[in-house]
Amino acid sequence: MNIHEYQAKALLNEYNIPIPKGFHAQCESSIDRAIEQLESSQKIVVKAQIHAGGRGKGTFTNGFKGGVQLCKTSNEAKSIALKMLGNHLVTKQTSALGRKVQTIYFTEACSINHEYYLAILLDRESAGAVIIASTEGGMNIEDVARNSPEKIVRVRVPLDLGLKPHHSRLIAFNLELKGQQIKELHLILNGLYRMFIEKDAELIEINPLITDSAGSLFALDAKVSVDSNALFKHPEITKLRDTNEEDPKEVEASAHNLNYIALEGNIACMVNGAGLAMATMDIIKSYGGEPANFLDVGGGANEEQVTAAFKIILSDPNVKGILVNIFGGIMQCDIIAKGIVLAAKNVSLSVPLVVRLEGTNVKAGKKILNESSLKLISADSLAEAADIITKTVAELSG
């Protein structure tokens, strides 16, 4: 689960990682109060809060440029914030529709001497943490990795030992830090590692980490992603979820414990199991179709969930056909079949439906489908199902 920059910074602050003073506002009336709390002699940075990178270079759909702006006065900051609030910001990480800005973050400006990159994330190979740092901050780390990989240092931290002083020293010297800065980085890394462990983070990225004109280190931007499977331990993080940042269909799906990802094609699919769901998308594509979504109904889906899944699929106006592919293990085919029949009663099924069932209780499942009055095409194999649905949808699209 991702959180906003202002929320991430508040967490960093809890772990004694220095951040520029800042306050957020979510409506016009709270803007003044946020700005008043900042030091009046300082310039103000106004930052649109969305879950996407590239905000500074982004453009609002109303033509206003730049989701991050440096302002000289409080009045200027307020007027810029009002241009951002409620409008959609398009960045290279968003769709062409952009994301609606519903929160503005105001921070005191820092004089930047140098920008570094610092992140901690889970390393699958070593089953531990890895800290990644670079002297090349403020830009896309993937570009740095491609263009000058020698400027990136990776330090693996085994979880059973934790962060040790030599890890910090290695990173500090690779960042060419000196004197007091080494001590500051040590404290930052300690906070970062503690936060990573205590909050079950998957990623904490500080980009940039800066030295200011006085030589002190500050986290100027922050991205935090927390392991969704660990949220049961962290009610304080769970309440930071901003469903405005998610596709409404995905929000609805998660409320029913369904794993749904909206895509841009016109053939919807409903599948059990993530691997088979991906493979079903792959085969739709290989037969010349375009999947409208990824949807894994999971191992233990019940009738209500299958019904909800159909409603979510059908709420996508692009959908011209549906392929249901169920290979029953935990999921029993008769339960899926009941769900399909139930859903069809609740929702007017106006698009072609191809169903492929195999596995546990398949005979009972097929019987339920056949005895219903539903107009559906039953397929015996994945290839046959993909062939039928892509051809049918292609004919409909003319």
Partner: protein, 294 residues
């Protein structure tokens, strides 16, 4: 005719009295699996379905019922601890079905498994389990799709494995053992580990490896295959059409070796290792038949 599980497997079921535990234990017993005990703390001394003795702990199941293998259906907040309990009880083979275990909890499990004094093998978590057709089924896969034979199957997916197995069975190709290693970022047995076991098994003639995007388990297996494996292998990677950036954080991409994690990179690694590739998930058995006559 198998690896890891067979007629001699003495299974204990952790979480036997739960809904999933009960349903799948019934299925496994009717397949012929020897379930010697269940574990539900606090229900020790009772009998599950009037037949299988319930213990309070895994070590009780080992001492009293001679269990040597466990399957875990415990809910995610407690499942990693259940794995650790099984390791401490001296269980040699641990199969964890549970999906949704926090990844840092799994990192702890991995460190425990890596300790020199630990002799346990973990399969999963977030996996369908393992089956040696005709002998022993542990997990949630539908038994009837399998057939006794000489093809080893290893996969990160559950249902996609059933898909491949069903294709094999329909073509008359039986399986020696099928292992679902699970879809979590940190797991026990890797693709490479399973391939090595099949390579050493005199009763496995050919192998199917099914992977998916993310991580480098398939690349690692391919390196091993290039050096050590002469048995025919066919493979498939799911996720060629998956959107970028939805499963992995963007800084995550630079941890794995450059170019790894995408379906394309994995297909390339498989091609380089001489694996016959199924570009289409409905052609997995056909791909194997291109390099293996059965």
């Amino acid at each position: 005719m198998s690896i890891l599980v067979d007629k001699n497997t003495r299974l204990v079921v952790q979480g036997i009295t739960g809904k999933a535990g009960t349903f799948h234990t019934q299925q496994c017993i009717s397949y012929g699996t020897n379930v010697v005990a269940g574990v539900t703390p606090g229900k020790g001394g009772l009998k599950w379905e009037n037949s299988v003795p319930i213990c309070n702990s895994v070590s009780e199941a080992v001492k009293q019922e001679g269990a040597n293998t466990t399957v875990i259906y415990v809910p995610p907040p407690f499942a990693a601890d259940s794995i650790l309990e099984a390791i401490d009880a001296g269980i040699e083979l641990i199969i964890c079905i549970t999906e949704g275990i926090p990844v840092q909890a799994m990192a702890e499990v991995r460190h425990k498994l890596n300790q020199g004094s630990v002799n346990a093998r973990l399969i999963g978590p977030n996996c369908p389990g393992i089956i040696t057709p005709g002998q022993c089924k542990i997990g949630i896969m539908p038994g009837y799709i399998h057939k006794e034979g000489r093809v080893g199957v290893v996969s990160r997916s559950g249902t996609l494995t059933y898909e491949a197995v069903w294709q094999l069975t329909q073509k008359g190709l039986g399986q020696s053992t099928c292992i679902g290693i699970g879809g979590d970022p940190i797991n026990g047995t890797s693709q490479k580990d399973a391939i090595a076991l099949f390579n050493d098994d005199p009763e496995t003639d050919a192998i199917i490896m099914i992977g998916e995007i993310g991580g480098n388990a398939e690349e690692e297996a391919c390196e091993f295959i290039k050096k050590h494996v002469n048995k025919p292998i066919a493979g498939f990677i799911a996720g060629a059409s998956a959107p970028k950036g939805r499963t992995m954080g963007h800084a995550g991409a630079i941890v794995s070796e450059s170019g790894s994690g995408t379906a394309e990179a994995k297909f390339n690694a498989m091609e380089d290792a001489g694996i016959t590739i199924a570009k289409n998930p409905s052609k997995i058995a056909d791909a194997l038949l291109n390099c293996y006559s059965g």
